[in-house]
């Protein structure tokens, strides 16, 4: 049980560092146990964007927190290799550059599993293979397939 937990953690941590590095184009990130050999201790997330030393995760900006959380979610996905990801407006706080990076990454994951995203962001729509438009009339929703 302990060996299994540590193996999973090491694997997810490796993916997390790589994806964080890719999204921030540098910087350092890690997942560690509060007490390294005790699998019941808490899990610490460290995230340092390039040139920065935030004293806690809260000190990161809105967009930096979004990218850090996304890196963690994708690390879990790479470990589990599940069939789908359904994400509702995860890009709301991102600027154009980071929206683009995130959209490219999601497009890549789309080669291995089904990725469905809700977004208001043109960058995201530009990278999608298909799009659906949801409209509301008199309180009733309809879904239409859009030509990209």
């Amino acid at each position: 049980k302990k060996a299994q937990f540590l193996a999973a953690l090491n694997q997810v941590a490796t993916y997390f560092e790589r994806i964080f590095h890719q999204l921030f184009q540098g910087g350092r990130a890690s997942l560690e146990l509060e007490e390294p050999e005790n699998i019941n201790s808490g899990l610490i997330i460290r995230a340092h964007p390039p040139d920065k030393e935030p004293h806690l995760i809260d000190a990161l900006s809105g967009g930096e927190q979004t990218l850090t959380a996304a890196a963690f979610v994708f690390a879990l996905q790479e470990y589990l290799a599940g069939p789908l990801l359904i994400l509702d407006e995860i890009d709301a706080t991102l600027d154009k550059t980071n929206s683009n990076k995130l959209a490219k990454l999601l497009q890549g994951y789309g080669d291995h599993c089904q990725v469905i995203v809700v977004s208001h962001n043109e960058e995201m729509i530009r990278h999608a293979k298909r799009a659906y438009g949801v409209t509301m009339r008199k309180g009733i929703s309809k879904v239409l397939s859009l030509e990209l």
Binding site: I45, F72, L84, H120, I125, Y132, M136, I140, S141, V143
Partner: protein
């Protein structure tokens, strides 16, 4: 496996039967504020067994189309999810029969009535859980991220975060 299509009727703002096919790759869902995008997300979470509290409702009945200002409410909300079975992933669930090309999971609610379906026949909730586990889909995990919930995964306290690793190994 993958989602082949979702059928929704009478669920939140989807009054009429709506069929949405899904494909491989990245699919974007767009639309104005309040048009029903997150309701579509909630419909998929609903059929996978999530409780009303994580579907922005206090009671299950509030998930039934309420008629809005001008229309009469629906009597039932129903969502059916079709998962692909072309690679025979769900073979163990069909001991005697032929392999269907796809399986269907369903959930219905009406006033004072709630049920789950597997291949159009009522089944216990545990059946849905076992099928999703076979498909490696965890509706309470990281694969379904509701609007505004992404950063919760890093905001949790260290103990709660540790449990995320527990759940996946």
């Amino acid at each position: 496996t993958k989602i082949n299509r979702v059928e929704i009727s009478g669920f939140k703002s989807f009054q009429r039967k709506t069929v949405i096919p899904f494909f491989d790759g990245l699919t974007a869902i767009v639309g104005e504020n309040g048009s029903g995008k997150s309701n579509l997300f909630d419909a998929i979470s609903f059929v996978m067994g999530r409780r009303s509290s994580s579907l922005r409702a206090e009671r299950l009945e509030q998930l039934i189309f309420n008629g809005g200002e001008h229309l009469s409410p629906s009597s039932m909300a129903e969502v059916t999810l079709y998962l692909d079975n072309s690679n025979g992933l769900f073979t163990p669930f069909f001991p005697d029969d032929d392999q269907p090309r796809e399986i269907s999971l369903g959930r219905r609610i009406a006033k004072g009535y709630a049920s789950y379906q597997f291949m159009d026949k009522n089944c216990p909730r545990e059946m849905i859980d076992r099928i999703l586990e076979t498909a490696k889909i965890d509706p309470d995990g990281h694969q379904l991220i509701a609007q505004g919930n992404l950063t919760q995964v890093i905001e949790k306290n260290p103990q709660r975060r540790r449990e995320i690793i527990d759940e996946i190994c």
